[in-house]
């Protein structure tokens, strides 16, 4: 059994394309072409060149010696925080902007929560000279002003999502509605491994460069391709999908997914979908999601804006229910402490999302000889004000 997507667009029971007929032509156009386009030599050449020269890949695989010593195991950090724009998100937007060009689209739409994906999308649109519209919840616009300014500098139009709870899930709804209204000229760059098939698979393939590099880098440093564990935080789950991708079907590699417990799993303010969610449909995909008994999608909470999505990608839903992945949830407090600790031990200020992945070492013991790769998905610059407020710096 494989943990990759099957030919029908499902990961086990999860995935598919639960979309209104109005979206069918758009999604079908993409579905029928994405694999062929990605296989083209010219596409691969252009994608790899941009990842190298523009994004700054490969990102280092760094042995965190002092951190390792503290936790009595061998921890490597995959430094996605060193990517252009500050996180792994740009791997996907570079891939999708090239996809959009080959599909003949000249208008790009995207959704964003904290603004990282919006910035990564606005960045590649500026690079290619393509019109860019980013939907962002009205509430997120207020609390993420620097990223709104970045997107504007990059030439994007930021449209507030004023419906529903006015956050990420509503921004996603608005982007989907835009796509329904503009079926011919527009490509929708989804920022995570969510949405209708083929998005989860396409985004995972663009992010797969992360585990492809880990394999080669670990071979060089440890004379083996496989770590014992690969650890990543999961909101929608795109950095995790990339970090796991080439290890999904290697049972000797443990997969650890870290979700945001917020103020605690049973506090009512949490984003730990695997613990609190059940099967349902969100944004065109069958997956695990947080919802009321009546099937209304609820608003999650995490101190980290990148993890407060009420669902997870279908790949991760399948990793959870099949038992292939080990799911751990981390509270705001544990994550903030871990972020501060990495700063002091290694001189690296991580994004709060990534801090969740680092926090597991306090509660999950590893053997001394284990090799644990943590995907450091983003840097903490965007979170400085949260760190300042939290620690009274």
């Amino acid at each position: 059994m494989s943990y990759q997507v099957n030919e029908k667009g499902y990961y086990g029971e999860f995935g598919g394309a639960f979309i209104p007929e109005m979206l069918y032509p758009n999604v079908e156009e993409l579905r029928s072409q994405y694999l062929d386009i990605m296989k083209e030599d010219s596409f691969q050449k252009e994608f790899k060149a941009l990842l190298r020269d523009y994004v700054g890949r490969p990102t280092p695989l760094y042995y965190a010696e002092r951190f390792s010593k503290k936790y009595g195991t061998k921890v490597y950090l995959k430094r996605e925080d060193l990517c252009h724009t500050g996180a792994h998100k740009v791997n996907n937007t570079v891939g999708q902007i090239l996809m959009a060009k080959r599909l003949g689209k000249d208008r790009i739409i995207a959704e964003t929560g904290a603004g990282q994906h919006g910035v990564a999308t606005a960045t590649v649109c500026a690079l290619m000279g393509i019109k860019c519209i980013v939907y962002m919840g009205e509430i997120d616009i207020e609390r993420q002003a620097p990223n709104v300014a970045r997107m504007k500098m990059l030439g994007a139009e930021v449209i507030p999502a004023k419906s529903g709870s006015r956050t990420l899930k509503d921004a996603t709804n608005e982007a989907i509605r835009d796509w329904i209204n503009n079926p011919l000229d527009t490509h929708y760059i989804i920022g995570s491994v969510v949405g209708p098939h083929p998005y989860p698979d396409m985004v995972a393939r663009f992010q797969a460069v992360i585990s492809e590099e880990i394999k080669a880098q670990l071979q060089e440093k440890e004379n083996r391709e496989n770590p014992d564990y690969v650890v990543a935080c999961v909101g929608g789950g795109s950095n995790a999908a990339g970090a796991y991708y080439h290890y999904l079907d290697k049972p000797e590699v443990g997969i650890i997914a870290v979700e945001a417990a917020g103020k605690g799993i049973s506090s009512g303010e949490s984003a730990a979908t695997s613990a609190l969610g059940n099967e349902g449909i969100i944004h065109g995909s069958k997956t695990l999601l947080m919802q009321t008994q009546d099937g209304q999608i609820t608003e999650p909470y995490s101190i980290s804006a990148g993890l407060d999505y009420p669902g997870v990608g279908p790949m991760h839903a399948n990793l959870f229910t099949s038992g292939r992945g080990e799911f751990i949830s981390i509270t705001d407090k544990a994550a903030m402490d871990a972020g501060l600790e990495l700063a002091k031990l290694e001189g690296i200020i991580p994004a709060i999302e990534s801090s969740h992945a680092l926090a597991i070492f306090e509660q999950r013991k590893f053997k001394k000889e284990d090799i644990v790769v943590v995907n450091l998905s983003g840097r903490g610059d965007k979170d400085l004000s949260t760190y300042i407020d939290y620690f009274d710096l």
Binding site: E21, M22, P25, G164, K169, N173, I176, H283, Q293, D294
Partner: protein, 253 residues
């Protein structure tokens, strides 16, 4: 015979109205349905509100949000409608998104619809291929018609497939848009109505999206059996409340 199929045999153009359950006030569902029938509406779509209605524009979405805040749920709707067939005869269709039905249990939901006297369902985000493989047998067991959407971009092959699994009518979305975003039809849209009519499908065609007044109703039904008005009706409720229903329907007919 299912009330929808019977209604479709009548020899005139059909007017259908969409109303959101539990809107404007939670207990308005039943009186609004009764008022619409009294004013000669041919059949109704009752919107089961959803937190994330992807195919709907701001008007219907806001009505859904308000209805949910008032306490509307699947159970509540069935409770409100439990005696509906004592007072209302026209066909009733529930329009809702798939997730609330999935949580309720698809079979349980269908059974409850049948027990209540609901005649059909419109579920925009349940794709036709998933329906035909997984749920068609359940719908048929309970005598429910499942209504599918087609759009100007739907290929002829896919329209034929949708026709083959449908046994009520086909819901023609007039333009590539969410609900409530356009008004009036251009030549391209009329050509699409004509093109699909000429396919001579076994199911009748009912147009939705973009119908707001008499003129657009007449245009929409020139090549089709009827038309559905949604956002424009919700706007009337917003403006004039239930008292405005009679005048609104008279202005269309």
């Amino acid at each position: 015979m299912n009330r929808i199929n019977k209604k479709l045999q009548e020899d005139h153009k059909l007017l259908s109205i969409y109303c959101t359950a539990g809107y404007p006030e939670l207990e308005d569902t039943l009186p609004i349905i009764q008022e619409l029938e009294k004013n000669g509406v041919d059949f109704l779509e009752i919107g089961l509100p959803f937190s994330d209605p992807l195919a709907d524009g701001p008007t219907i979405q806001q009505s859904s949000t308000k209805a949910l805040q008032s306490g509307m749920t699947s159970n509540k709707l069935f409770e409100q409608l439990k005696d509906i067939r004592n007072s209302v005869e026209i066909p009733l269709i529930i329009m809702g998104y798939f997730n609330p039905m999935l949580q309720y249990g698809v079979e349980k939901f269908c059974k409850k619809c049948a027990d209540t006297g609901i005649d059909g369902l419109i579920i925009p985000d349940l794709p036709v291929d998933v329906y035909s493989k997984k749920y068609k047998a359940i719908f048929e067991k309970y005598g429910l018609r499942n209504i599918f959407l087609i759009t100007p971009q739907t290929s002829e092959e896919r329209i034929r497939f949708i026709d083959s699994v449908s046994n009520g009518f086909i819901y023609m979305v007039s333009t590539a848009s969410v609900t409530g975003s356009t008004s009036g039809f251009n030549e391209e849209t009329r050509n699409y109505f004509k093109r699909v009519k000429e396919m001579q499908l076994k199911n009748k065609l009912i147009v939705g999206f973009g119908i707001s007044d008499k003129e657009s109703f007449i245009q929409a039904t020139q090549y089709t059996k009827g038309a559905i008005i949604g956002s424009a009706f919700i706007k009337t409720l917003n403006k004039h409340g239930k008292a405005g229903i009679g005048d609104f329907i008279k202005s269309i007919r």
